[in-house]
Amino acid sequence: MSPYKVLIVEDSPTMRQLIVFALKRVRGLTLVEANDGVDGLKKLSGEKFDLIFTDINMPIMDGLKLVSLVRNDPGYKSVPIVIITTEGANEDRERALALGANDYITKPIQTARIVDVAKRLLNM
């Protein structure tokens, strides 16, 4: 049984696959995928996660809304959230961090960076 459970919220299957591919290199992670913010929230309500990766620009519910809702949930107040996005402007980063995100990764993504951030936030 893997000790850490990670939720990946991303509408692009290519990106999702790339993030999963990167995180599979870290032993001890169970990876769960969600297509958008709403799907992510459903999965969060069903089981307990230790780390969340989310995109910002997604249909139905964007990543920032998801971060805000997750941070208002007492059960997920301290769960680390990482934003993965194309939005590279400083104000976007600051907005995401102010909402409660723990890290901010800009695309094009480097799998090594995803692995480093996951290990750091999970204290591995």
Binding site: S12, P13, T14, M15, Q17, L18, F21, A22, T86, G88, A89, T106, K107, P108, I109, Q110, T111, A112
Partner: protein, 274 residues
Amino acid sequence: MTEKGEDRVTKRAEEFLQVFKKGAEFTQDLLKENERLRFQILKMEEGLKNDLEDASPESETEKLRERIAELEREKQQIIDRIKEVEAENLDFANRYIDIETENNNLANLYIASYQLHSTLDFKEVLQIITEIIINLIGAEEFAIMLLDEKTNKLQAVAGEGLDPGEVPTISLGEGIIGEMAKTGENYFIEEMDGYIRDLRHPVVCIPLKIKEHVIGVIVIYKLLVQKSRFAEVDYELFTLLAGHAATAIFSSKLYSESERKLSTIQGFLDLMTK
């Protein structure tokens, strides 16, 4: 003197003789011991003399010098070995970084390739190409143009950050885009700084090729704000896109056409059999 008195004198004389004998034996023992100790002293003096001769200041200094030289040699050997190990460590660290980068690049290429061939739906293929260009290359404004083989003109069929309808139709051989489509060569602008978007003159133009047959081009006008220049892997991705995206587009178009034809034939057969 009485007989009794004589006996007593004799007895005393015998006792005296006994004591005298013991004294004589003791004296003998002392003399022997004295002799032995003298011999020991002589031996020790001789040994000491030899030691003092051996331990002359010159020879001792020489010995110390040799030892220092030996230790210096050992120290140099250790320093050289440490340098070697440090160089090896640096080499390993660099190799690790190279392997990590290569691994990352291969992961990107593998996923791009896997996704491109995961569907036969034309629109989905275009969507996947779009996602690859955004997420793996880091482009913000770009278009996918396909060549109409009847008119020999390139027309945008999908795009990001711009309306494909904005992109002008380009004839084969016309301008940078038409020229690249004609020759099948990749185009990268020399200087990206200060570039102002010109829909006829992109930053990058990548022909989509099946072997040497060009079926369209990808034109990029702007990169994401955090991406200042292309990385090594981008050129590999462009090469991969040129081939795999072309075959994926071509196969999906063929599949759509065959599906359409099949549906028409099916409809015709249904009409005939009714």
